[in-house]
């Protein structure tokens, strides 16, 4: 083994930041809290850079064993970190984007309550995410997996005094439990089959597996892993938590629910690629789930009015692409898309945050318009994200998305066509958001905007400040009386990360990630079929063109279309009523069943009945026995004598003494 690179420092630095900010951060100034938070993450990023520099080409995974965590019989799990080429990319993305978003957040959160709490959670998230990425076995990965889930819950519910934020946090947590259940089962099966949870051991054995042996078992493992990944990465049918997760502060949406955590599922599937390669059925399932998710999420994104919701559905859709890539065997293309998506989607969210802040926490795009002159830096950077996500060559989204779709073209034509249609919709909904926000005339402010945004806004209300002893920071510059303030550009601390991300979004496609990943994940070079490429060029032209016609040339057209296809519009606008369907088919039976069967039946009837029954039987017996103790000494004496007589008689009858 090569010399130790002290990998543990990478997650330990954000953990240190978390410990400092969570313990003393409350009493410290905002400058101190920001410094600790940013410094810990940037230091972690620098340590990653130094480590990767020292490790060089990483032909072999670099593994560091720290201690044996669990040893029980043949079951042994070490606290091991490993770096291979896949990990190196994830590490750079997580710490790099993480640093930028931390910096941005100091500007975005500057006037919010619970400042130290926010950054403590954010650092804790970085810690768990790095554990997840560095883990050298399934169980340690699961630790990170659960940890990021926890932080996601905490940060979605950051404005916990708002009921919708708390509900959204709980929803994310519970939906993820479903996925984690699948992941746990997959881990059990992995251990039963391979006798280890170590990535090296498991994947080494999986690579030499005879296909005819245990094909069913491998398929089961992979399908269960897919359930886990679907929960974390918001795939059908478990995607419902991600749109609601936008209740959290916008930097959280960017970091956790766009750039890093939600890609953990893709990372896990790619990490387990040697298992999936042995399970063609599971691969097909991954591809189909990914395609379906990409398509349906994109259609839902078409009709959303909340700017963050548009990008949330866009995230779900792009994650679907990544799964499609993994499912057709183009793992490295999937990871490539993880990286480029991290760039442009983080940028989209941060840009949206900048817009939201400029518009005094208005998130409804119908009250935007004509903002390009008022917030030019935000506009310029968002344009970079726009061209990247729309797939215009040579910007980053084009390279990764086309790598996936071309691989799908070779693998299965229907998946390609659906993917291409989705690409057109992607171009359309992003263009729609851009046109509605930055072009035309300013339509705001929202006349109904008195904190009544139906659960989608991003305020820290006065209560939140008061609850944390920050009442003096009450939001004088936003909140009530929206209309009377001018719209102004965000401070430099927010725009500089935007600019860096914009450059990455433009140029990210030139990082040759698929080649770098080839030793780990296999080749995903697809033929550049001229038809397919032509189709892909057509998609973004079509998408952007249609959006231009509908939202710039004739702004009345969308409403006309909506009333013409009323049924379809209602269906999409209400997100296919999936939440309602889940409510009726799953949540309602569970709550009603819990109430009438588990609570009133089992708990109140059976358990309470048994306890109360035991009590009343004792009382009844005691009531009888207390008659014996009447206080009359001679009756006691009679009992003593009677007992003695009984003993003597018994002994003579049954023969104690001869």
């Amino acid at each position: 083994m090569a010399e130790s690179q002290q990998l543990w420092l990478i997650p330990a630095l954000p953990l240190l930041g978390f410990l400092i900010n969570s313990t003393v951060g409350r009493k410290m100034s905002k400058q101190f809290v920001s410094f600790i938070a940013i410094a810990s993450v940037v230091a972690s990023f620098l340590w990653v850079a130094k480590t990767l520099n020292a490790l060089g080409a990483l032909e072999q995974p670099h593994v560091e064993h720290y201690f044996t965590w669990i040893a029980s019989g043949t079951f042994s799990v070490g606290f091991d970190f490993s770096i291979d080429r896949l990990t190196s990319i994830m590490l750079l993305v997580v710490t790099g984007i993480g640093s930028l978003i931390h910096i941005y957040a100091t500007g975005y959160m500057a006037h919010e309550g619970g400042y130290y709490r926010f950054f403590a959670y954010l650092n804790l998230f970085m810690f768990f995410m790095l554990i997840l990425v560095l883990a050298a076995n399934f169980l340690l990965l699961f630790v990170g997996w659960e940890g990021v889930g926890l932080c996601s819950y905490l940060l979605i519910g950051f404005y916990f005094l708002e009921k919708f934020a708390g509900d959204a946090g709980k929803k994310a947590f519970i939906v993820n439990r479903v996925g984690d259940f699948g992941f746990s089962l997959a881990m059990f099966l992995v251990f039963i089959n391979f006798g280890s949870l170590d990535f090296g051991t498991v994947f080494g054995k999986a690579a030499t597996l005879q296909p005819e042996h245990s094909a069913g078992m491998i398929t089961a493992i992979c399908l269960l892993l897919l359930v886990g990944a679907a929960g974390k990465s918001a795939q059908i049918p478990l995607y419902v938590w991600l749109p609601d997760a936008m209740a959290g502060p916008t930097p959280v949406s960017a970091l956790i629910h766009a750039a890093t955590m939600v890609t953990a599922g893709v990372y896990m599937v790619c990490r387990s690629s040697s298992l999936f390669n042995n399970a063609p059925i599971a691969m097909e399932t991954v591809a189909i789930v990914g395609t379906a998710t990409a398509f349906f999420a994109a259609t839902m994104g078409l009709a959303q009015n909340d700017i963050k919701k548009v990008f949330a559905y866009s995230t779900v859709s792009q994650l679907g692409y990544m799964f499609l890539g993994a499912g057709v065997g183009a793992y490295s293309a999937g990871i490539f898309h993880v990286v480029t998506h991290a760039f442009f989607k983080a940028l989209l969210f941060l840009g949206a945050g900048s817009v939201i802040m400029a518009c005094h926490h208005e998130q409804d795009m119908r009250w935007y318009g004509g903002l390009r002159k008022k917030i030019p830096v935000t506009f310029g950077t968002l344009c970079c994200a726009w061209v990247a996500i729309a797939g215009i060559p040579p910007f980053s989204g084009y390279h990764s998305k086309d790598a996936i779709l071309l691989a799908a073209y070779e693998h299965a034509r229907p998946l390609f066509w659906i993917g291409a249609l989705t690409a057109a919709m992607t171009a359309f909904y992003v263009s729609r958001a851009m046109f509605l926000t930055f072009f035309g005339e300013y339509r705001g402010p929202n006349p109904h905007a008195d904190h009544g945004h139906g659960g989608h806004d991003d305020h820290a209300h006065g209560d939140d400040h008061a609850a944390h002893g920050h009442a003096d920071h009450a939001h004088k510059d936003h909140g009530h009386g929206h209309g009377h303030q001018e719209i102004k550009e965000s401070p430099a601390v927010m725009t500089i990360p935007l600019v860096i991300l914009a450059l990455l979004s433009l140029g990210g496609g030139f990082f040759n990630i698929p080649d770098w990943l080839e030793p780990v994940l296999g080749s995903s070079h697809a033929e550049h079929d001229p038809t397919a490429v032509a189709v892909l060029y057509a998609t973004f032209i079509l998408g952007i063109g249609l959006a231009y016609v509908m939202y710039v040339l004739s702004p009345g057209l969308p409403d006309k279309l909506a009333s013409t296809f009323k049924g379809l519009h209602t269906l999409i606008y209400n997100k296919y009523f999936v939440d309602e369907v889940y409510d009726v088919t799953i949540i309602h039976p569970i709550t009603e069943g819990s109430r009438y069967f588990l609570w009133k039946g089992v708990d109140a009837g059976l358990i309470d009945g048994a306890v109360n029954g035991a009590g009343s039987v004792s009382r009844w017996i005691g009531g009888g026995l207390r008659q014996l103790q009447g206080g009359n000494i001679r009756s006691y004496a009679t009992w003593v004598v009677a007992g003695a007589v009984f003993v003597v008689v018994a002994m003579s009858v049954w023969g104690g003494v001869r």
């Binding site: 207390r626 103790q629 009447g630 206080g631 009359n632 000494i633 001679r634 004496a637 009679t638 004598v641």
Partner: protein, 111 residues
């Protein structure tokens, strides 16, 4: 253990007589214990039972030519002495507090 008891003039009295006497004394003790109302009489009845048992111990000891029974009877006397000390103290306290020795009136220890 090699020792023999000297012959007694009462050696001619059969074993059964001792046991019958012991049983009669014990029965009287029980009757007194159950039916008398005065605490002191009840107490004396207990002593009577103890001594009835002592008598049978000694009788068996003599019959079997072993000292065990006599040793036991000494134990019983020691216990009886201790019991008399404690019991009489209790009876005194009861009388001081309630000015009666009727067992049926001392019935406050009940549920």
């Amino acid at each position: 253990m090699d020792f023999t008891l000297p012959p007694l003039p009462i050696a001619a009295i059969p074993m059964s007589a001792y046991l019958i006497l012991s049983a009669i004394l014990f029965g009287l003790g029980i009757c007194g214990f159950l039916f008398r109302r005065n605490l002191i009489t009840v107490f004396m009845s207990i002593e009577l039972m103890l001594n009835a048992v002592n008598l049978s111990f000694v009788a068996f000891s003599h019959q079997m030519k072993q000292a065990d029974g006599q040793i036991y009877s000494f134990f019983v006397m020691v216990v009886a002495a201790a019991e008399a000390a404690v019991g009489l103290a209790i009876i005194l306290t009861v009388f001081k507090n309630r000015e009666t020795l009727e067992v049926d009136e001392v019935d406050n220890l009940k549920l």
